[in-house]
Amino acid sequence: MNKDEYKKLVKKHEPQENKLNNAIIAFLVGGTVGFIVEGIIVILMNVLNLTRIDATVWTSLIVIFTASLFTALGFFDNWMSKAKAGLLLPTTGFAHSVSSSALDYKKEGLIMGLGSNFFKLAGSVILYGILASFILVIVKVIISG
């Protein structure tokens, strides 16, 4: 059997992921997260008399705490893989990546394990976010004079 035939055989037998299904799940889960977050913001604004900006920051902290707690309790990994991008793109994905790498590397020591790997996955978000913002602010400054 040559390489091409083998590849065809592998392709035939590997499980077919239903892309339409994935897309619908991601849309519904992501939408639900957005809906719940908006709900928490409105509740905080009305109950604690916060401004919308403060309520938004509190809400994102609540979401980060919840996602970190669920990751530590062990069932969030499963949710992440079931919900596809629906939990990856909200703040939950960022919190999950930090807390899961913290848990996984804890046994390798406080410095070389936990410390060095803390931002293993979330580090690229911070790096490219800051870099892009820096460049864009410089461009904005040059344009607006």
Binding site: G34, I36, V37, T91, L103, K106, G129, S133, F134, I138
Partner: protein, 116 residues
């Protein structure tokens, strides 16, 4: 009305992310970084403000909001303090998410162990 937009906007971001994930070789790490940079670019054109006015929590929960906060913090820093302000202002708004995830993850790691 904000609730409906929150659902639609957050859902659409996730839908686009899932389509990229399924149809290209990019990993979840690529997707989150990409969406953060997209957030910075939307903030640059003044579009992310409008998205937040429209969808509230639906726009502020997406990772692109982090890029928006970095850009806005840096630009407002520039307006207040000049070039130095870009450096000092960058994390004033986006810092909450970084500090929050560090503190919560570190505390929880003390009490929990990985399951498998």
């Amino acid at each position: 009305m904000t609730f409906i937009w929150a659902f639609l906007i957050a859902g659409s971001f996730c839908l686009i992310g899932e389509l990229i994930l399924d149809n290209t070789k990019l990993t979840p790490g690529h997707i989150t970084s990409l969406f953060t940079v997209i957030g910075c670019i939307l903030a640059f054109f003044g579009l992310y403000d409008k998205l937040i006015d429209l969808a509230g929590g639906g726009a502020s929960t997406i990772i692109s909001n982090f890029g928006y906060l970095l850009y806005t913090g840096a630009y407002e820093g520039y307006l207040a303090n000049g070039i130095l302000g870009i450096f000092t202002g960058m994390l004033t708004k986006g810092g909450a998410a970084i500090v929050g995830s560090i503190v919560f993850a570190a505390i929880l790691t003390l009490f929990f162990n990985p399951k498998d």
